[in-house]
């Protein structure tokens, strides 16, 4: 080519490929160009993926994408489970057992769904805490916080309805308990009960409604909200880590942020690699747990006539279960209805109450308190919920033979009564028995015979009165046995 002759770059490359320099690349390149032209990848999609973010976005920012990845895991494994699971009362349990024990790798799929649920609850809590502590909910990201709060509530809704679908004893009674809680709303309580159980009592319609809610209704709402949430993230950009002494001011923030991302880094791949690594780690942990530990075995099948039930929610609701158990009487209606309402209101009102001002947690000590105290409280309550000392042990526990051997005569009769009269359901002696009532290992040293007799006959403080069911001889035997409980070395 001589200088001055017209030659466009396009014709040069076309000439090159026409000469057969790299025909395969040319075809691929042409295919991509075709798609790009029709879809607008380079025009619209790449700019979104590569949008600039502040340089100092750190590892604390990975929880949001990890939550999304957990959600996607749940959707995929949920769809897989739905290929077999039948949501009718007589089939739900059987199909789940089939998935767990007979379907090829069904145990793993169910395991991923189970541990993925826990992962999602943990991750969304961490994400919310991170956003809150960094003040990222402030201007202009208030709607991100609102949609995010709704997503948090919906995630808890998914967690709750998901447990129900197992339709084992825990699930059945969890429905009843949920309906009863809803029933505490004044005036409309009984109507809410009927809505929750889809009828006048739990029946054939109840399970299918929860299935439709868990599989269609809530996920649909979540898809929409996630879409809005992600759109807002792109629109307003990822918030920069807060700096103490730099409060958010509506007049200056946008300008400051634009300057920041003017020398920012593209989200993909410079910032997103942290998200990928963390999400992969979470996924690996979930899959590993699913393979090694596996989903929990199902309880007994749901049966309203099976009274020997000890219903428990899954771990993420154990703290609420414990809270309700430990409430002083009389506060219940206020807490059951009022507490969730209040928590929801605070969540939703937050960006409207504090849209501007300091973002750094170093300047917002109450924000730190507001996260640390509930976190510790929840952890403690979960542990209490696991132990549930307030639950009577049923059937009443029996003392071991070595313990029984110490007693004879009236005291031995008293020991037998202690078991048959259900005392050991609530009271423990030397490690045997329930923990609802006081431990009686040393009660013989604390209370006189008269005091013991009075207490047994009259009850009080949560204990029933046995005066109408025990004969004087039986009472005397019990008192003889209890007076011998002084915590000293074993007798004989």
């Amino acid at each position: 080519m001589s200088p001055g002759s017209p030659s466009s770059p396009a014709s040069t490359s076309e000439t090159r490929s026409a000469r057969g320099a790299a025909p395969k690349r040319g075809a691929l390149r042409r295919a991509y160009d075709w798609l790009d032209d029709r879809l607008g990848i380079g025009e619209n999609i790449l700019p979104v993926i590569q949008h600039p973010v502040p340089r100092n976005v750190n590892w604390w920012y990975v929880f949001g994408s990890a939550t999304l990845v957990a959600f996607i895991f749940q959707v995929i494994t949920g769809v897989a489970l739905a290929f077999t699971y039948v949501p009718a009362p007589n089939s739900a349990y059987q199909t789940l057992q089939f998935i767990t024990h007979q379907a090829l790798l069904g145990k793993v799929v169910r395991g991923i769904h189970y541990f993925g649920a826990s992962a999602m609850v943990i991750l969304i809590a961490l994400h919310a805490a991170r956003v809150f502590l960094m003040g990222s909910y402030k201007y202009p990201r208030e709607l991100s916080w609102l949609t995010g709060s709704l997503l948090l509530l919906l995630t808890l809704g998914m967690a709750f309805t998901g447990q129900l679908l197992r339709w084992d004893q825990d699930a059945y009674w969890a429905v009843v308990v949920a309906a009863e809680q809803a029933g505490r709303v004044p005036f409309v309580g009984p109507i809410l009960v009927q809505i929750v159980v889809a009828g006048q009592t739990v029946g054939g319609a109840t399970l299918t409604r929860f299935y439709a809610t868990h599989v269609f209704l809530i996920p649909a709402a979540m898809f929409v909200l996630i879409g809005i949430h992600l759109y807002l993230v792109v629109r307003h950009g990822i918030s920069e880590p807060p700096v103490a002494g730099q409060p958010v001011d509506r007049k200056t923030y946008q300008q400051r942020y634009r300057e920041l991302i003017a020398h920012g880094i593209p989200f993909w791949p410079d910032a997103a690699w942290k998200d990928v690594v963390f999400a992969l780690a979470v996924g690996a942990v979930v899959v590993l747990l699913a393979i090694v530990v596996g989903a929990p075995e199902l309880n007994k099948q749901a049966d309203p006539t099976e009274i020997q039930a000890n219903p428990r929610p899954d771990w993420y609701f154990l703290w609420y279960f414990a809270l309700l158990s430990l409430l002083p009487a009389g506060l219940e209606n206020v807490v059951i209805i009022g507490a969730p309402l209040l928590a929801g209101l605070i969540l939703l009102a937050l960006p409207l109450i504090a849209p501007t001002g300091e973002r750094s947690p170093a300047r917002r000590p109450w924000a730190v308190v507001a996260v640390v105290i509930p976190a510790v409280a929840i952890a403690v309550l979960v542990r209490e919920g696991v132990e549930s000392p307030w639950s009577p042990r049923l059937p009443p526990p029996h003392f071991p033979a070595e313990f029984r051997a110490q007693y004879s005569g009236s005291a031995a009769a008293g020991l037998a009564l202690f078991e048959t009269e259900s005392c050991s359901s609530c009271h423990a002696i030397a490690g045997t028995g329930g923990r609802k009532g006081p431990d009686l290992t040393t009660v013989g040293a604390r209370l006189s015979r008269e005091q013991l007799t009075t207490r047994i006959l009259n009850g009080g403080g949560g204990m029933p009165a046995y005066g109408n069911t025990l004969t004087p001889d039986e009472t005397a035997s019990l008192v003889a046995f209890l007076s011998a409980q002084t915590g000293g070395p074993p007798r004989r």
Partner: protein, 150 residues
């Protein structure tokens, strides 16, 4: 106008959908008397577990068509029938024959043999079914899931 028309269309479509979703509320079954068992099967002074089918069950309801009840015969022709649901939050209460008390496993509610609260968080006595003797059969009137609304 297009907004108005769309709104109207939405309103019209939502009528069958909402009615369908709320049908359990809109078409409740009237209460009826249900046979429990022959009265000769119940000992005086004992509380026993029975199950009834309270409402017309859906064909696929399976075991959930059943409702459990505690039946106590206090005299030759006197019965008290309790719902098994604890009045606190609905967990099933366990009858302890020797101690003559109901114990609830969830939060430790305790009731006496007559259903009154002996201790723990329940706000009111156990819910009772209306009971009658028809010929030689004990019958109860269908009740549904009860709740202690304040």
């Amino acid at each position: 106008m297009s907004v108005g028309l769309s709104g109207l269309a939405g309103a019209v479509v939502s009528v069958p959908i909402l009615s369908y979703l709320l049908s359990p509320l809109l078409r409740p079954e009237p209460p009826r008397w249900i046979d429990v068992d022959d009265v000769s099967k119940f000992e005086i002074g004992k509380t026993v577990l029975r199950s009834i089918v309270e409402f017309s069950p859906l064909p696929w309801a399976g075991q959930t068509a059943q409702t459990a009840i505690w039946v106590r015969r206090t005299a030759t022709d006197e019965f008290i029938v309790f719902a098994v649901n604890c009045t606190h939050l609905g967990c099933p209460v366990n009858w302890q024959e020797q101690a003559q008390i109901f114990l609830c496993p969830c939060h430790g509610g305790v009731y006496y043999a007559d259903g009154t609260v002996a201790g723990g968080p329940p706000p009111r006595p156990l819910f009772r079914y209306q009971a009658r003797i028809q010929g030689t059969t004990l019958q109860v009137r269908s009740l549904g899931l009860q709740v202690a609304t304040p």
